[in-house]
C-alpha cells in the first residue's frame, strides 16, 4: 500500500507541476499544432506553373501556334508576357523575377507545314532541388499536349481523304468487273479499254493515298502489288493471242490476271476501310494507361497528414516534457530528497511515467477530438489498434525524454535536444519527405525515431483500414522497454551516493 501511495504522490506532484506551468504546456503542445493546422489550411500541395516570359523573333507578332494552342500553353506555364529582347528576358531570369524564358524560333507554323520540327528553347534557373525538375516537366507536358492536338487535327483531315480514295477504288472495281466480263466474252479490246480506265483510276487513287501521309504507309505493299498487277494484266492482254494459245483450263479473265488485279483492289479497299475506321486518338496512342483510384478513402492534405501530425505532436510533447521533467529536478536538487526518502528509483520512475502518460493521453484525446471532429479525419481501421499504437508511441517518447533529461546537465540543453528531436521527426519520420526517398545514414535516424513507426502505423490504420505492420508494433514495444530500463539504470546512477 505504501509503495502505491508514494508512486501516486510522485504522479500527482508531476501533474500538479505541469498544470502550474500552463504557458509551457501551451507552447509545447498548441504551438506546433497551430502551425500545422495553418500549414494544412494554407497549402494545397500543388506546384504553380512556372512564370514564363516568351521571347519572339524580332519583328514577329505572337505566332498563330501560340494563339491556337493558348489553352495548352496556359495550363503548363503562366505567361508573364512577350518580348523580342532575349537579353532582357535572360536578365529577368537571372534576377529570379520569372521562372523560365521560352524562346520561339521564327515562323514555326511554316516549319511544321514544310514537314520540319520546331525546336522551342526553354531556359530556367531554379535552385530548389525539389522543384528543379518541374520546369522541364511542365514544358514537356505542354509540348506533348500541343503535339497531340496538331497530330489529331492532321489525322482527322487525312481521314477525310480516305473517302475519296475509297470512291476511286469502287470505280476501279466496277471497271475491272466490266473488263473481266469483256475478257470472258472474248472482247479483248473492250477488256483493254476497261483496264486502262482502271489504271487511270488507280493513278488518281495513288495521289489520294499519298496525301494521307505516313499514316497510310501500311497500305504501300498493297498499292504496289495492285499497280504491278494492273500493269501485268495490260501486258497479258497485249499478248492476248499467245496467252490464249497456251493450254490453260482457267477462264480467260484469270489467265489475263484480271481477277487477281481485281482481288488486290478489293483488298486495298478493305484495308482503307479499316484505316478509316481507326480513330485518330488510337492512331496517336495505341496504348492508353487507365489508372483507377481504389483506396477506401481519398484523403485531402489535412487528412493525409493528420496521423503523422498526431505522431509528431505526441513524440514532441512527451519528449519535451520528459526532457524537462527530470533535468529540472536534478538542477533543483530534488534528487537529494529522493535519495533520502523511502521511495525506490523504480517507484519514482513509474510515478513520473504515469503522470506523463496521463498528461499525454489528455493531449492525445484532445487532438483526436479536433482531428476527427472539425477536421473530419476518419478512423477506418480498428480504434483499439490506434489506441495501442498511440500508447506505445507515448511510452517510447516519454522514455526518450527522460533519457535526455538524465544525460544533459542543463534545462537549456534539454530543450535543445527536444527541438533536435522535433527537427528529426520533421525531416526523417516521413512527415516532409517519404522514407523511401531517404538514404543511409538518414534512414538509420528515421528508424530510431518512434514517430516514424507511429505515423506509418497510424496512417495504415486510420486511413487505409489496415491493422498496420506488426513488426512496427513490436519495435515500438521493444524501444519503450529498452528506454525504460535505460532510464531506470541512469536514475540509479544519478541518485547513488558519491
Amino acid at each position: 500500500m505504501r509503495p502505491f501511495i508514494q508512486t501516486l504522490a510522485v504522479m500527482v506532484k508531476e501533474l500538479t507541476e505541469l498544470l502550474r506551468r500552463p504557458l509551457l504546456v501551451l507552447t509545447l503542445v498548441l504551438g506546433p499544432l497551430l502551425v500545422m493546422i495553418l500549414f494544412g489550411i494554407g497549402s494545397d500541395a500543388t506546384f504553380a506553373p512556372p512564370r514564363t516570359l516568351v521571347v519572339l523573333p524580332p519583328g514577329e507578332d505572337k505566332p498563330a501556334l501560340l494563339q491556337r494552342y493558348e489553352r495548352q500553353f496556359k495550363s503548363s506555364m503562366r505567361i508573364e508576357g512577350y518580348t523580342d529582347n532575349e537579353a532582357a528576358a535572360r536578365e529577368r531570369l537571372r534576377l529570379n523575377t520569372i521562372d523560365a524564358v521560352m524562346i520561339v524560333p521564327p515562323t514555326p507554323e511554316e516549319t511544321i507545314g514544310q514537314g520540319g520540327q520546331v525546336r522551342i528553347q526553354v531556359l530556367y534557373n531554379e535552385i530548389d532541388p525539389l522543384q528543379r525538375g518541374l520546369v522541364p516537366q511542365f514544358m514537356n507536358a505542354m509540348a506533348t499536349e500541343v503535339n497531340r492536338e496538331i497530330f489529331l487535327q492532321n489525322t482527322r483531315a487525312q481521314q477525310g481523304g480516305i473517302g475519296n480514295a475509297t470512291r476511286e477504288i469502287d470505280s476501279a472495281l466496277r471497271t475491272m468487273d466490266t473488263a473481266i466480263e469483256a475478257a470472258e466474252a472474248g472482247d479483248r479490246e473492250g477488256a483493254l479499254q476497261q483496264l486502262d480506265q482502271a489504271r487511270a483510276t488507280n493513278e488518281r487513287l495513288d495521289a489520294y493515298l499519298d496525301s494521307l501521309g505516313p499514316e497510310a504507309g501500311t497500305l504501300d505493299p498493297l498499292r504496289d502489288r495492285t499497280r504491278e498487277q494492273l500493269q501485268e494484266g495490260r501486258d497479258r492482254l497485249d499478248q492476248g493471242e499467245s496467252i490464249l494459245a497456251t493450254p490453260d483450263p482457267r477462264p480467260a479473265s484469270e489467265r489475263f490476271g484480271l481477277v487477281q488485279a481485281r482481288d488486290n483492289l478489293q483488298q486495298l479497299r478493305d484495308s482503307l476501310t479499316q484505316v478509316a475506321a481507326v480513330r485518330p486518338e488510337v492512331l496517336l496512342s495505341p496504348i492508353v494507361v487507365e489508372a483507377r483510384y481504389v483506396a477506401a478513402l481519398q484523403p485531402d492534405l489535412i487528412t493525409y497528414f493528420a496521423p503523422a501530425m498526431l505522431a509528431l505532436l505526441i513524440q514532441h510533447t512527451a519528449v519535451s516534457l520528459g526532457a524537462l521533467g527530470m533535468v529540472r529536478e536534478r538542477l533543483a536538487n530534488t534528487f537529494e530528497l529522493y535519495a533520502v526518502a523511502p521511495i525506490t528509483n523504480l517507484q519514482l520512475l513509474i510515478g513520473k511515467y504515469l503522470a506523463y502518460i496521463l498528461f499525454t493521453a489528455a493531449v492525445m484525446g484532445a487532438l483526436l477530438v479536433v482531428l476527427v471532429g472539425p477536421f473530419g479525419v476518419p478512423i477506418i481501421g480498428d480504434p483499439w489498434r490506434v489506441a495501442l499504437t498511440l500508447s506505445l508511441l507515448t511510452l517510447t517518447s516519454i522514455g526518450m525524454g527522460f533519457l535526455i533529461s538524465l544525460l544533459v546537465s542543463s534545462e537549456r540543453t534539454a530543450v535543445q535536444y527536444a527541438m533536435l528531436s522535433l527537427l528529426g521527426i520533421v525531416f526523417f519520420s516521413g512527415f516532409a519527405l517519404p522514407i523511401e526517398s531517404l538514404r543511409q545514414p538518414a534512414l538509420t535516424v528515421s528508424y530510431i525515431l518512434p514517430a516514424t513507426y507511429g505515423s506509418q502505423l497510424l496512417q495504415d490504420i486510420m486511413l487505409r483500414g489496415l491493422p498496420g505492420r506488426d513488426l512496427y508494433i513490436w519495435v515500438l514495444g521493444t524501444l519503450s522497454v529498452v528506454l525504460f530500463v535505460a532510464c531506470w539504470l541512469l536514475l540509479r546512477l544519478r541518485t547513488r551516493a558519491n
Binding site: R2, P3, I5, Q6, L8, A9, V10, V12, K13, T16, E17, R20, R21, E329, A332, N333, T334, E336, L337, Y338, A339, V340, A341, P342, I343, T344, A497, N498
Partner: protein
C-alpha cells in the same frame, strides 16, 4: 557579552554548580567512527567520530565550510565516506531500507522542493513521498505549516517565498512524517528570534518524545539548546560535550570573578597559590578572574586567602562565558592562532 550572576554584597557568593548529568546509555541512533571525506584533492572531513543517542539533541556547530553539511550527507547516505564507518539506526546509510528511511527526516541547507508548487503542495508531496497515509496527511500538513508559521501563505508558490520562508518550508517537509531521527542543516538560519525559539521548543518536544536530532547551526548561542554539542573546524571535530563541559574545556575549569575593594595589591598573584587554581588574571584593579578546577571547592579557599592578604572581598560570582567566547577560545586552542568571530564566520544570534 558576559553573563554575570550575583550582586554586590559582602561577600555574596552566587554560583551554579550542578553535578554533571550521566551520559545517556543504550545503542546510539547515530554512530560515526573516523569518517573522512574529500572532494578532488580537498579534504572536507577529517576523522569524525560522534554518536547521538535516542532522545538527544546533538548540535554540530562550526563556521561555514567546516564540514557540518558533509557530515550530514554522509549520515544520510548521500555521500560515501572515503574511510571510516557510520551506522544510523543500526544500518549503513548506503544500504538503508525503506523502513529505516521512513524514520529519518532530512532538512538540507538548500531548497530541494519544487519552486513551482505551492507551499502546501510541496509539503503534501513530501508527506506522500514518505508514505503518510492519506487520511493523516491533511492534519499533518496543517500541523507542520502552523508550526513553521507558513499556514497563511500555504497557497503561495514556493519560488515567491523569502529565503527564510523557504527554509521553514524545508523544515516543515522534513517534519511532516514525524521522523524518529531528524537531520536538520541550519534549520534556524535567517529566522526571527521568536520563531527560532518556537522551533527549538518543538525540537525539545521531539527530544522529549525520545526522538533524536542532529542539528547544525552557525548560531553558536543555540548550542545551549542542545544536549551535546560538537564543534567543527576545518573538517575536524575539535571539541565535543555538553555545553557546560565545553565551557570548562575552553577555559580549563570554572571561572570565578571576585570583586575586591581597590587596593594596590596583586590579587592574581595572591590567589594563584590556592590549591585547585588553574589561572588568574585581573581585568580591572577591583576584580580578579580566577579559573579553578572546581568552583565549589575553591571559592572558600580563595576568599580566605584574599582576606588573609588584607583585601576585602565584596562579591564572588561564577563567570558564564558566552559560547562565542567559548568556541573562539576552543578554536584558538586547536589552531594555535588568535581568531575573531568575524574571521570564523560564526554568527551570534540577535535578541538572545
Amino acid at each position: 557579552m558576559s553573563d554575570r550572576v550575583g550582586t554586590d554584597v559582602q561577600p555574596e557568593i552566587d554560583v551554579d554548580l550542578q553535578p554533571a548529568e550521566p551520559a545517556p546509555v543504550g545503542p546510539p541512533v547515530i554512530d560515526a567512527r573516523g569518517l573522512e571525506k574529500g572532494f578532488d584533492d580537498h579534504v572536507v572531513l577529517r576523522d569524525l567520530t560522534l554518536y547521538v543517542q535516542q532522545g538527544e539533541i546533538y548540535g554540530l556547530i562550526g563556521p561555514s565550510g567546516s564540514g557540518k553539511s558533509t557530515a550530514i550527507h554522509l549520515m544520510c547516505g548521500h555521500l560515501s565516506p572515503d574511510s571510516g564507518a557510520v551506522e544510523v539506526l543500526g544500518r549503513d546509510p548506503a544500504h538503508f531500507d525503506a523502513k529505516t528511511k521512513r524514520r529519518i527526516g532530512y532538512m538540507p541547507q538548500g531548497l530541494i522542493l519544487n519552486p513551482d508548487l505551492t507551499v502546501q503542495q510541496n509539503v503534501r508531496f513530501a508527506a506522500g513521498l514518505y508514505g503518510v497515509w492519506p487520511w493523516l496527511r491533511r492534519r499533518r500538513v496543517r500541523s507542520v505549516l502552523e508550526l513553521t508559521e507558513l499556514w497563511p501563505v500555504r497557497k503561495r508558490a514556493t519560488r515567491s517565498l523569502s529565503g527564510g520562508m523557504q527554509r521553514r518550508l524545508a523544515l516543515a517537509a522534513a517534519l511532516v512524517h514525524e521522523p524518529y531521527l531528524l537531520f536538520a542543516d541550519e534549520p534556524t538560519a535567517n529566522l526571527d528570534p521568536i520563531l527560532r525559539a518556537k522551533l527549538w521548543e518543538h525540537f525539545q518536544g521531539m527530544s522529549d518524545q525520545s526522538r533524536a536530532l542532529l542539528i547544525t547551526t552557525q548560531y553558536i548561542d543555540e548550542a545551549e539548546n542542545c544536549d551535546r554539542v560538537g564543534l567543527m573546524h576545518e573538517g575536524a571535530l575539535i571539541a565535543e560535550g555538553r555545553p557546560e563541559e565545553l565551557r570548562r574545556q575552553a577555559f580549563g575549569g570554572d571561572v570565578v570573578d571576585i570583586v575586591v575593594e581597590r587596593q594596590a595589591l596583586d590579587h592574581a598573584q595572591t590567589v594563584s597559590s590556592v590549591e585547585g587554581v588553574v589561572g588568574a588574571e585581573m581585568p580591572h584593579d577591583e576584580s580578579v578572574r580566577v579559573t579553578v578546577e572546581n568552583a565549589q571547592v575553591a571559592i572558600p579557599m580563595l576568599i580566605e586567602e584574599l582576606e588573609e592578604s588584607g583585601a576585602t572581598v565584596r562579591s564572588v560570582s561564577q563567570y558564564q562565558p558566552t559560547f562565542d567566547e567559548v568556541f573562539i577560545r576552543l578554536i584558538e586552542q586547536h589552531s594555535g592562532e588568535h581568531l575573531t568571530s568575524d574571521q570564523l564566520q560564526l554568527n551570534q544570534s540577535e535578541g538572545r
